[in-house]
């Protein structure tokens, strides 16, 4: 499944690059993904009793004027091939790859309390210096971390939470105070 998802997003990316519309396509794809993500739409698309033309009609009605031809083509191709379930994962992968190509990366910062703009900016600056990429930060609040924050970025974690420190201390106490 993962392979299939990647190859769809790769092909779409290739077309966008060839046409030089990567940025514009990415924005369109983000709109499509956000729209199709709802449970209702997903179950509609996955229903095998609904004929393909009806599903295509949905795309037509929803995004007829806004979408580029190849993005629309991608959607009808997926529906025609009965791979409706792969649409969202393939589009997500496309957005991630497009971001990476244009030197951008998403980072999730989770803290016990909401961070101020200055704090987020300083985290962004440091991360940008370390990775030489443009960082887009999403701040989430989770009181369970007790204090501090952790950053999830590109499959890695920078953990500076009090919760982790306490867990580490507990582990060392259990192992006999070395």
């Amino acid at each position: 499944m993962a392979k299939l998802r990647n190859s769809y997003s790769d092909v779409l990316l290739e077309i966008s690059e060839k046409r030089g519309t990567l940025e514009k396509d990415k924005e369109q794809v983000m709109v499509v993904r956000d729209t199709l993500e709802s449970d209702e739409v997903q179950s509609f698309l996955a229903n095998p009793h609904i004929p393909v033309p009806v599903k295509e009609e949905l795309f037509q009605n929803a995004f007829s004027h806004e979408l580029a031809g190849h993005v629309k083509g991608f959607l009808s191709y997926m529906v025609g091939k009965k791979r409706e379930k792969l649409i969202i994962p393939a589009l997500t992968e496309y957005i991630d790859s497009a971001n990476r190509r244009s030197g951008r990366i998403e980072a999730k910062v989770v803290s016990a309390r909401a961070l101020t703009k200055e704090q987020i900016e300083s985290i962004r600056r440091i991360l940008a210096r370390q990775t030489s990429l443009e960082i887009m930060i999403e701040n989430k609040v989770d009181p369970d971390v007790i204090g501090g924050f952790y950053i999830l970025m590109d499959g890695h974690i920078f953990d500076c939470t009090v919760r982790t420190e306490l867990n580490r201390m507990k582990e060392r106490l259990k192992r006999g105070m070395q």
């Binding site: 499944m1 369970d144 499959g155 974690i157 953990d159 259990k174």
Partner: protein, 503 residues
């Protein structure tokens, strides 16, 4: 060691003083789904199979299914507090337990954490719970006996050091009793013991621990505990953890005995995990690798060659059958893996024959090479006579017109049965066993009433202990039964019979 509050606060203070702020950097994934002790984690492309993963609440998990775009993790502890979207860290470590002499006398859970309120364990070192079994070149043949202290076993199905002997039978037939008696009998024999309780009631295990404490056996025993209320993941790793603790001593050249009580519940726990991980079910809904589950565990029992320290690890796995069905999936698997089995029968148990060993189905594939010569001499004919008695007893029920030879054989058989009956928690030294079997073998019990045989045994052993200790010392020293010694024993038996009025 008991940790006092002063010490802890001192430690915490020193930690705070030397506190350095170092962010933890590692590969991380996110929890997509959690429930039933299983988590599905997205990301973590660098995870190894079996690697420990850390959840934010400090609980560890083990990566078991490495799928294309997510991994299936069993949570080793409570899954409360883990929620969707939580980060999961790679640790780069496999599951390990503390090992070494500090484990003696302790009760620990499947992760090696103490649960006996005796303070923390200062471990010599840590050992991975999954290890490769010793290779062919590291082993040598099993040739030293491991005395269970149970006459029926030491005579008919002897166990050698480094052997794997299965104890199999229905519920309530005395399986655990045999294992516990064997542990008790290792007192003063320089054998370390590990008792692994898997999926049992906590009350049962509490009773066993009490017995071990009362008999002084706890001093050389470690109890690894995963009760029925523990998560299936802990029940799954408990025998491997126990084996790692035992293995450490074996590689240090010690003789070790490990009891897995019981492997049927272990297979059930593994089945639960496998089904939750959506692995395809096979026969009796067990996964395809349930044979490997037990074979890789029991292969770790070994008798090491002298170049590798000469240590031994004897394994006594226990399997509970349903309605005496030993042809079910798990029993047949474990029977084929082990070097023999002790088969216990509910009918015998109810007839008052305890231990309820069925000598027909019980076998030890190491056999005579794991017996002292004196025992070997006496046990040889015993097996045949016992089998003959069983056949005759069934036959004689049809008629009363029996010739003298048949009556003699039947009488002798009844006496064999009576001698092999032994109460729980009363293991018998091998020298005493030899003396009693000698009396039986030479027909000295012929004239004694069945009901008085146990009295005779008590008086006979007592007499030897008080008046002829040299006999026992010689058996202990040489392990053999010379003609000269036999004469001395004959004399003692005659003396006892006369003095206590048996005949």
């Amino acid at each position: 060691m008991i940790v006092n509050i002063d010490e802890i606060s001192k430690f915490i203070k020193s930690q705070i003083k030397t506190y350095s702020y170092e962010p933890d950097y590692s590969e991380a994934g996110t929890v997509v789904q959690v429930g039933d002790g299983i988590a599905r984690v997205y990301g973590l492309y660098g995870a190894m199979s079996g690697e420990l993963l850390e959840f934010p609440n400090g609980t560890y998990g083990m990566a078991l299914n490495l799928d294309e775009d997510s991994i299936g993790v069993v949570i080793m502890g409570s899954d409360a507090g883990i929620k969707e979207g939580d980060p999961v860290k790679l640790t780069g470590r496999m599951a390990e337990v503390p090992v070494g002499d500090s484990m003696l006398g302790r009760v620990v859970n499947a992760l090696g954490e103490p649960i006996d309120n005796k303070g923390s364990i200062i471990a010599d070192s840590y050992r991975k719970i999954e290890n490769i079994a010793p290779s062919v070149m590291m082993r040598r043949e099993v040739n030293r006996p491991l005395q269970t202290g149970i006459k029926a076993i030491d005579a008919l199905v002897p166990i050698g050091k480094g052997q794997r002997e299965l104890i199999i039978g229905d519920r309530q037939t005395g399986k655990t009793a045999i294992a516990i008696d064997t542990i008790i009998n290792q007192k003063g024999k320089d054998v370390y013991c590990v008792y692994v309780a898997i999926g049992q009631k906590a009350s049962t295990v509490a009773r066993i621990i009490k017995v071990l404490n009362l008999t002084g056996a706890m001093a050389y025993t470690t109890v690894v505990l995963a009760t029925a209320s523990d998560p299936a993941s802990l029940q799954y790793i408990a025998p491997y953890a126990g084996c790692a603790i035992a293995e450490e001593w074996m590689y240090r050249g010690k003789d070790v005995l490990i009891v897995y009580d019981d492997l049927s519940k272990h297979a059930v726990a593994y089945r639960a995990i496998s089904l939750l991980l959506k692995r395809p079910p096979g026969r009796e809904a067990y996964p395809g690798d349930v044979f490997y589950l037990h074979s890789r565990l029991l292969e770790r029992a070994a008798c090491l060659s002298d170049e590798y320290g000469g240590g031994t690890l004897t394994a006594l796995p226990i399997i509970e059958t349903q309605e005496g069905d030993i042809s079910a999936y798990i029993p047949t698997n474990v029977i084929s893996i082990t070097d023999g089995q002790i088969y216990l029968e509910a009918d015998l148990f109810n007839d008052g024959i305890r231990p309820a060993i069925n000598p027909g189905y019980s076998v030890s594939r190491v056999g005579g090479s794991a017996q002292i010569p004196a025992m070997k001499k006496l046990a040889g004919p015993l097996r045949i006579e016992f089998a003959q008695y069983k056949e005759l007893a069934a036959f004689s029920q049809f008629g009363s017109d029996l010739n003298q030879d048949t009556i003699d054989r039947l009488n002798h058989g009844e006496r064999i049965m009576e001698v092999l009956i032994q109460p729980q928690y009363k293991p018998m030294a091998v020298e005493d066993q030899v003396l009693m079997l000698y009396a039986l073998n030479k027909g000295h019990l012929k004239g004694i009433e069945l009901s008085r045989i146990h009295n005779f045994q008590r008086d006979f052993i007592h007499y030897v202990d008080t008046h002829a200790v040299h006999i026992k010392e010689e058996i202990e020293k040489t392990g053999d039964l010379s003609d000269e010694l036999a004469e001395k024993i004959e004399a003692v038996i005659a003396e006892v019979k006369e003095q206590y009025n048996y005949s």
